[in-house]
């Protein structure tokens, strides 16, 4: 008979593995970000399972505090990735608009690695 704690911990490990696999397979930002969040949820579930101390026992508060901190970190990181992704889309669409008015030769020049130079 599998105990409740082990069941939750195994579910956490499963989520972690699914998320990890998907993170490594996807190259687009959005699917990858979702996969990372699934991966994170798996880790948090493992922490929750560790804190469990039976139906009557008081759960261990330390892992709960850790999960709360972890969720804050995950939310801010996700928000930042989305903001960066949006900024990149804006730059790309600006580039397409400005190129539409120019000739074909300029279009190929804009994609060249010269664009790598910052400042």
């Amino acid at each position: 008979m599998i105990s409740t704690q082990l069941l939750y911990a195994l579910a956490g490990v499963g989520l972690f593995a699914i998320g990890l696999r998907a993170t490594l397979l996807h190259h687009l930002l959005l699917p990858r970000l979702l996969a990372l969040n699934v991966c994170g949820a798996g880790v948090f579930l493992i922490f929750i399972a560790i804190a469990y101390a039976g139906i009557e026992g008081m759960p261990d508060p330390v892992p709960h505090a850790l999960v709360l901190t972890g969720i804050v970190v995950a939310v801010s990181a996700t928000a930042m990735a989305l903001a960066l992704g949006r900024r990149l889309e804006n730059i790309k669409s600006d580039a397409i608009k400005s190129e539409a008015t120019k000739s074909e030769t300029l279009k190929s020049a804009a994609v060249k690695p010269e664009a790598m130079n910052d400042e």
């Binding site: 901190t69 990181a77 960066l84």
Partner: protein, 483 residues
């Protein structure tokens, strides 16, 4: 003085918040708070040097519930190194950013990066290490994205998602440690850890997460684009410090906490990956067309050297020989930190002067920017490992430890790596001293060139001649760990 350890973290944190409100005086606020933090970090180092490692419990809450800050030889030396690099780069950045809007966004993030670095180095438990790693990763990504062009944003997104993956894998390991031992405090863990499957899995997960962060071959793929496309002062901090603190955590876990779980074969695997990184990174650096990309690949190679030390430390008997290898590792890490940051700062000056950083078109820069090219040669001396730089001693001990541990196969790797480093440094100097068409007047950009010069002098002279104190401190550290 006893509160210096708090000020190291609090002053940059306050500075970061104030610089958001008074963005007009942000440069001044950043310079002042980083100088105060530099003084405080030196006070921490002095205290460790005089009376050994110490612990500070924030708010009087004991470990397990509260946050404790710990300083010992390893962390306080790295702390002073990182504050020196950060302070020099702060002076540099106050002249580097000309765009007011960009400058206003730079300073709060830059100070937050300082906070994260210092807090990470002083953390005494695994969860704080995770939080500071994330804080460091997020501020580093935001700073990379400041360049605000397509390549930089793509690099920043990749850096962010890889960094997140690394820290989640690390966190999974932390969860297993808590499940097994019920504590996350490093000092308590060190006395509890046993060699069982649980420790091995937890340790394996944490190591894997940190290897991504420290960009060991073949997990380095995110590093060159991110380090090469960030603004120059940011690249300096990323290459010199952000990668290095991941290696610091790894070292702390391997040597201090999980030493029973370690097997010689697992350290050997990391050593081999390090050796491949040395050769492959140096080779890529030689092929690179751009100055900053070359420096980024050189970082991949220099990180590789640090990992070659691991199998040597594991194989050598405890005592003077092991301490010597450990000190040499630290010396290599410090030298690379100073040299690479000086290099990136100089590359930034060249990029602003020429409008590009293509190595083949650097002709004439030696006449236009003599001091900058001098700094590049000095840091080149440290990257190659010529005397009197710190990495000369480091490589010397790497070779002698290889003989003592009976692992001769690392020696050709060090030799080939050094020859390749010589080749890529002289390739830059060759082009820089070559004739150039558009030679302007001799430029003197003191506010940007002098910080880089100071860092390069640290790498080549001060670490080379002043390494005796480092030896003392590490011997002290080993004694404290033995007790």
């Amino acid at each position: 003085m006893s509160n210096a350890i708090i000020w190291v973290i609090m002053i940059p944190l306050l500075g970061s918040l104030i610089s958001i409100i008074w963005s007009r005086y942000a440069s001044l606020i950043a310079i002042i708070s980083n100088l105060v933090a530099l003084v405080a970090s030196t006070a921490v180092l002095m205290r460790v040097y005089q009376s050994g490692p110490f612990l500070h419990e924030l708010g009087g809450w004991h470990a397990g519930l509260g946050i404790s800050l710990r300083a010992d030889a390893l962390s306080s030396i790295l702390l002073v190194m990182s504050m020196t690099v950060i302070s020099a780069a702060t002076f540099y950045a106050s002249a580097y950013f000309t765009d007011a809007a960009k400058r206003a966004r730079f300073w709060p993030l830059w100070l937050m990066l300082t906070v994260a670095l210092n807090a990470l180095l002083l953390s005494g438990d695994l969860f704080n290490l995770y939080v500071t790693l994330e804080l460091l990763g997020l501020s580093a990504v935001a700073l990379t994205a400041l360049s605000d062009n397509r390549a930089a944003l793509q690099a920043a997104i990749r850096y962010l998602s890889i960094g997140l993956l690394g820290s989640l894998v690390f966190l999974a390991g932390v969860a297993l440690v808590y499940a097994g031992y019920g504590t996350l405090d490093l000092a308590t863990l060190a006395s509890l850890v046993q060699a069982n499957p649980l420790s091995q899995v937890a340790f394996g997960l944490m190591t894997a997460g940190l290897l991504i962060k420290s960009a060991l071959f073949p997990l380095h793929f995110w590093l060159p684009s991110a380090h090469a496309s960030a603004p120059a002062p940011v690249s300096a901090a990323l290459s010199a410090l952000v990668v290095k603190v991941a290696v610091y955590i790894l070292l702390r876990l391997w040597v201090d906490v999980f030493d029973l779980v370690l097997t010689l074969s697992s350290t050997m695997l990391l050593g081999i990956l390090g050796a491949i990184a040395v050769i492959w990174g140096s080779w890529q650096a030689l092929q690179a067309q751009r100055l900053k990309l070359m420096a980024a690949y050189s970082t991949v190679a220099q990180i590789g050297y640090l990992f070659i030390f691991l199998p040597l430390i594991a194989a050598l008997p405890e005592g003077a020989l092991q301490d010597a290898a450990f000190t040499a590792l630290l010396l290599m890490a410090l030298t690379h930190g100073f040299a690479k940051s000086a290099f990136f700062l100089s590359a930034g000056v060249i990029q602003q002067y020429c409008g590009h950083d293509r190595i083949a078109e650097l002709g004439g820069t030696a006449r236009a920017l003599p001091l900058t090219i001098f700094v590049i040669s000095l840091s080149g001396v440290a990257l190659i490992g010529l005397p009197p730089s710190g990495s000369f001693l480091g490589k010397w001990y790497l070779i002698s430890s290889s003989f003592q541990a009976g692992q001769w196969w690392w020696i050709p790797v060090v030799l080939v790596g050094s020859v390749l480093a010589t080749a890529y440094v002289f390739r830059i100097l060759g082009h820089a001293f070559g004739p150039g068409e558009s030679i302007g007047r001799v430029l003197n950009r003191g506010r940007e060139e002098i910080p880089a010069l100071i860092l390069a002098l640290f790498a080549t002279l001060i670490l080379g001649f002043g390494s005796a104190e480092l030896w003392d401190l590490v011997a002290q550290h080993a004694e404290a760990a033995g007790n």
